[in-house]
């Protein structure tokens, strides 16, 4: 009898245990239900008059087309892997003037900072692959991520890897994330043509590349006195590595409000200047190739056929510490209106301080369509090493005329329209259309720089 009671109890326990297991299985929702495919693309256009390749003046026209595909695959109930493959093809007037002497408007084919030449650097394609993996715990309160990335472009290679952990607690009202990312990048340096040629000719401006070129001084008189800054040499450290640690804290405040606080600590090390970017010193004489009668109008867009020979390439410290800190705050105003806000304060040890404010007001037009206008304000102080064209001093250790490191502020207005069908009613075979997102943004600095971008994202679900 006792044996039977014991067996009965064991059976009950066993059944309860197996039911618990079944129950667990039933209530464990998959992190990602099915395969998702995102097709993203953008067209970017910019205009400006402060090209850094030509020392802080010149044509900054640039067009970029970036198609990208992102495939997210559920490996199990808990694991998801994402493959992100993108290319970015651009045409840049500024980069084309790495060699301004190969196509222009006059007989010796010299261009000016204001006109694109047809050099190899005019067009390029950036190729990128990211692989992200995430694992969520059974209670979905712990998420572990890992990623690896690779990118190449004509003068640059990048290998990145990272990992992170997110913990949710307080009934998933609070979350804390810690992540790290390392990029091991390498320059394949391209130099301004005249500086490269100067080293090839071993400093003889009557031979090699310069043999059939006439160099003029500021007065338009022929001379062979030009040389780069004394001691000029090519870069010896081709690495540019980035190490970052990110901390994120997010909290649900009320049924309609949540916010996140973040701080990153970023350290960059290696050759942080761009070897293609020229600089000109105010305390050294100026020398030109091209049409000497255009020297007096060099800084004007009327100049089509004379080019100022570089004094040096930009040089910047080999380390940089960056600390961005800020928050996001989202408020669900009502069923039709949400406020999304973002603020970031940024500090680095090159002297740049910046403030970024972004506001977005998504308006639900129907259960499928959302219109989201946005506004972004950005303001930065200049780097300690920045001076405009021909204002740098040769006695300085570090110098740049890259206007991306100058003092400026910018305003950006954007509009987006998103279509979402959570039931994916529109289907082609087993592929359902989940969403279409269109976005346009217009960006304008308080200097001579403006840009616009049109982006589109289409998401499909495979059943």
């Amino acid at each position: 009898m006792k044996k039977n009671v014991l067996l009965f109890l064991l059976l009950i326990c066993g059944l309860s245990f197996s039911q618990d297991k079944v129950k667990d299985k039933v209530y464990k929702k998959r992190v990602l239900e099915s395969i998702e495919i995102d097709f993203l693309t953008s067209y970017y256009n910019q205009e400006g008059n402060n090209a850094s390749v030509t020392g802080g003046i010149g044509n900054e026209d640039l067009q970029d087309f970036s198609p990208t595909i992102v495939v997210s695959i559920p490996l199990s109930d808990d694991d998801v892997i994402s493959l992100d493959l993108g290319i970015s093809t651009y045409t840049s007037a500024s980069s084309s003037n790495g060699n301004p002497f190969d196509a222009g408007t006059n007989s010796d084919k010299t261009s000016s900072p204001w006109y694109a030449s047809s050099g190899a650097s005019k067009v390029d394609t950036w190729k990128n692959l990211n692989v992200d993996y995430s694992n969520s715990s059974d209670d979905r309160n712990t998420i572990i991520t890992a990623n690896i990335s690779s990118a190449t472009e004509w003068d640059y290679e990048s290998l990145g890897f990272g990992a992170g952990i997110t913990k949710l607690f307080n009934n998933k009202n609070t979350s804390v994330s810690l992540s790290t990312k390392i990029y091991l990048d390498k320059w394949i340096p391209i130099y301004p043509k005249e500086l490269d040629a100067y080293l090839d000719a071993e400093g003889n401006t009557n031979s090699g590349y310069f043999a059939n070129k006439t160099i003029f001084n500021q007065q338009g008189l022929s001379t062979n006195k030009w040389s780069p800054l004394k001691g000029f040499g090519l870069i010896n450290d081709k690495s540019r590595n980035t190490y970052s640690i990110s901390f994120l804290f997010s909290q649900i405040l009320t049924k309609n409000t949540q916010f996140a606080f973040f701080i990153d600590l970023i350290k960059q090390q290696g050759w942080l200047a761009n070897p293609l970017q020229r600089v000109y010193f105010s305390d050294l004489d100026n020398f030109y190739i091209g049409n000497p009668s255009s020297i007096s109008i060099y800084t004007s867009k009327l100049n089509k056929d004379v080019f100022h020979l570089a004094d040096d390439i930009e040089r910047l410290p080999s380390t940089r510490i960056k600390i961005p800190i800020g928050m996001r705050f989202n408020y669900f105003l009502n069923e039709n209106l949400t406020l999304r806000s973002y603020y970031r304060y940024y500090y680095d040890d090159w002297g740049i301080n910046s403030h970024t404010l972004n506001l977005e007001l998504p308006v639900k037009l129907s259960d499928k369509f959302t219109f989201y206008p946005s506004y972004r304000f950005y303001s930065q102080s200049k780097s300690d090493y920045f001076e405009p064209y021909d204002k740098l001093l040769s006695s300085s250790k570090y110098y740049t005329s890259d206007y991306d490191l100058s003092t400026f502020n910018s305003n950006q207005l954007g509009f987006g329209l998103k279509y979402v069908d959570i039931f994916t009613k529109f289907k082609i075979w087993d592929v359902g259309l989940k969403s279409i997102d269109l976005n346009y943004s217009n960006y304008k600095r308080n200097s001579d720089f403006k840009s616009s971008i049109v982006s589109m994202a289409v998401k499909f679900i495979i059943d």
Partner: protein, 75 residues
């Protein structure tokens, strides 16, 4: 040093705000509005392209979930 103190004060401010609010607890069934896709505490996926250009065209980077390295922005 002054700039470092600014960062320190800002950090202290956020720590204080976080400590004062972290006790809030909203039940799962009360999170209908919080779970709305527009309430996500991250930037929209479609904004990745403009974030990349901002990274190259401005002196600042980081703090937005976007990349902090992995490209030269030479163009």
């Amino acid at each position: 040093m002054k700039k470092f103190n600014q960062v320190k004060n800002l950090l202290l401010f956020f720590v204080l705000v976080n400590s004062s609010v972290s006790c809030a607890s909203i039940k799962e069934y009360e999170k209908v509005n919080i779970n709305d896709p527009d309430m996500e505490l991250s930037q929209r996926q479609i904004c990745r392209f403009e974030t990349n250009f901002q990274l190259y065209r401005e002196g600042s980077s980081g703090g937005n979930g976007g990349k902090v390295g992995g490209g030269c922005g030479c163009n």
